[in-house]
């Protein structure tokens, strides 16, 4: 992308365009370039390649977070709640996380708490059988919170280490749907004696600036302990997460890079920064 050797205003214009085209929010682009100019001055960088490397480091630094590891509760089961807007990749991500945990020798229960969408439970049942996880489900149209409650009860009774709860896609602007999610959170807390161990926002990697709005609302209503960015095997570069990290401080836990249960990678800030600048 940067063929020129010298460090000049054209270089910074090109970098601005590259970041913008990666869905990095306008204000964050300005802030990143400001820090970059500071680095260029302080380190007396003279070569475009060095500036590129410094920019990558600037991006990685902003995203690195010790809390990117998946939490494990001291008292089983560890409960992971997955939520997000419609079609983001929640159900498929649960299959992937279940597979990852089972490869570590864990036992996993999937809670089919999307009781609304056509064939949502069928979809999760197929994934459960494919990865070898158990599933707790109810009738379509039932109370989603009750499904999560039952799954936690079953996990406790049988000494199963993990409960992964799927929820229906919902627009963060719909108050009644957000209250439904909040109720799922409260019922989880009641069943567990503490808040869910992970409150995971699943974000479609193709999303533009609305990703930040989604994170704000879900964080406000539920709290968000981590983000999973899906569909990064496509062409998007997911720069909106820089906005989420800057304004909300939420760490990215995983990225989704395909439709198979093995298509999940733990978040790596350097790799992410590298891909963003492609």
């Amino acid at each position: 992308m940067l063929g020129r050797g010298i460090v000049d205003e054209q270089l910074f214009d090109d970098l601005e365009d590259a970041l913008t085209s990666a869905d990095v929010p306008v204000r964050v682009v300005d802030s990143i370039l400001e820090s970059l100019r500071e680095r260029v001055r302080a380190d007396r960088l003279r070569d475009a390649e060095d500036v590129r490397r410094a920019l990558k480091e600037e991006i990685a630094e902003r995203l690195r977070d010790a809390r990117s590891q998946l939490r494990r509760a001291e008292t089983a089961p560890t409960v992971l709640l997955f939520f997000g807007v419609n079609g983001a990749g929640k159900t498929t991500t649960i299959a992937k996380v279940a597979q990852m945990l089972m490869e570590r020798g864990e036992r996993v229960i999937l809670a089919a708490a999307d009781t609304f969408r056509a064939a949502a439970i069928d979809q999760l049942e197929i994934w459960a059988s494919r990865v070898g996880a158990e599933i707790v489900r109810a009738q379509p149209g039932g109370d989603p919170a009750a499904v999560v409650f039952d799954a936690i009860t079953a996990a406790k009774a049988r000494g199963i280490g993990y409960v992964l709860a799927d929820t229906a896609g919902r627009q963060h602007t719909k108050t009644s749907l957000m209250s439904e999610l909040e109720k799922i959170g409260r019922v989880t807390e009641k069943a567990l004696g503490r808040k869910a161990d992970e409150l995971l926002l699943v974000l479609d990697g193709n999303t533009g600036q609305n990703a930040i709005r989604q994170a704000e609302e879900f964080a406000r209503v539920m709290g968000v302990t981590g983000v999973v960015v899906t569909k990064l095997d496509g062409t998007p570069r997911g720069g909106a997460v820089l906005g989420i990290k800057q304004s909300l401080g939420i760490p990215i836990k995983f990225i989704g890079i395909g439709e198979k249960p093995s298509d999940l990678k733990p978040f790596d800030a350097d790799e992410f920064a590298e891909a963003l600048m492609e």
């Binding site: 064939a119 602007t173 479609d204 193709n206 999303t207 533009g208 600036q209 609305n210 439709e259």
Partner: protein, 292 residues
């Protein structure tokens, strides 16, 4: 909002005395920010701004009493024009059934939109049939069948087939056999860079010679909107665009971007999860939304 940003610029400029031609750039800077924050693709935004500058200079906006208002009016008219003023007009086939193929990225809303289209067509007095050609996603066929039952529309499905082209062909035959006059094909989500899957879609098109090939895109799509639209268009010659999930608070710059780069009409917008949540596209309303 852009309106307040522009009036802010005007306020600042007026304090400095008489406005000059170079002051137009101050307005353009605010417009650029607004467009990018609305997810308008960068290249599309640049072209759009060049057009606005042309008109602002040509129409001597600086000499107006309220240049911020004048610029806003120009932007609104250019946006509305770009978004397209064609009414929703289907390419009905002279010899039924009319065949509609839905395509797009994973999770964009194709399956739900297929059912919504069937509902809309029924209201137009048509008798549609749905075809389940996503043989890849777990329970995709079941999903379409459940939706079809809920809207009393027949669904052609083959749970054992691994060949979407064959299912498509047989769906069309069944559609004619049952005297249904529109066939709506749901397909598997795919990346525009997935060559074998794009080829599969092209094969479905060759087999069916559809009257409509509609890209179903998520209205929250960011900067990749133009890449996605261009690749689908060049492989399939789209006849139109449908944008889902406009019931959220996304500004929807992807709509302008995909429309600008393909020139194809925006036919419908999805406004919710229910099967009646589909509306014909209204350019004026969307222009307002993009400008915030």
């Amino acid at each position: 909002s852009l309106a307040s940003a522009l009036s802010g610029v005007f306020g600042r400029l007026r304090k400095r005395g008489r406005l000059s031609e170079s002051d137009v750039d101050e307005f353009l800077r605010e417009i650029r920010i607004a467009l990018l924050e609305a997810d308008v693709n960068l290249a599309v935004a640049k072209q759009f701004i060049a057009r606005i500058r042309e008109r602002a200079v040509g129409e001597h906006v600086i000499e107006s009493l309220t240049p911020d208002q004048t610029v806003l009016t120009i932007i609104h008219s250019e946006l509305t024009q770009l978004l397209g003023s064609e009414p929703v007009r289907f390419n009905w086939s002279p010899s039924p059934p009319t065949v509609i193929v839905l395509c797009g990225l994973q999770g964009s809303g194709k399956t739900t939109t297929a059912a919504k289209l069937a509902v809309w067509l029924k209201k137009q007095g048509k008798s549609p049939m749905l075809a389940a050609c996503d043989l890849q996603r777990p329970a995709a066929i079941t999903q379409l069948k459940v939706l079809g039952d809920s809207i009393e529309t027949p669904v052609f499905a083959d749970f054992d087939s691994k060949d979407p082209v064959s299912v498509a062909r047989r769906a069309k035959q069944e559609c004619s056999r049952l005297f249904r006059d529109v066939l709506i094909l749901d397909t598997a989500g795919r990346l525009q860079i997935d060559e074998p899957l794009m080829q599969e879609l092209a094969a479905i098109k060759t087999e069916l010679r559809p009257d409509e090939v509609l890209l179903v895109a998520d209205s929250t799509t960011g900067q990749e909107s133009t890449q996605i639209a261009e690749r689908f268009d060049e492989r399939l010659s789209l006849t139109g665009l449908i944008f889902s999930k406009t019931d959220g608070d996304t500004r929807g710059g992807a709509v302008l971007s995909m429309r600008a780069v393909t020139g194809k009409p925006v036919r419908f917008v999805g406004i919710g999860e229910q099967t009646d949540a589909l509306e014909p596209f209204i350019p004026d309303r969307f222009a307002q939304r993009i400008l915030g």
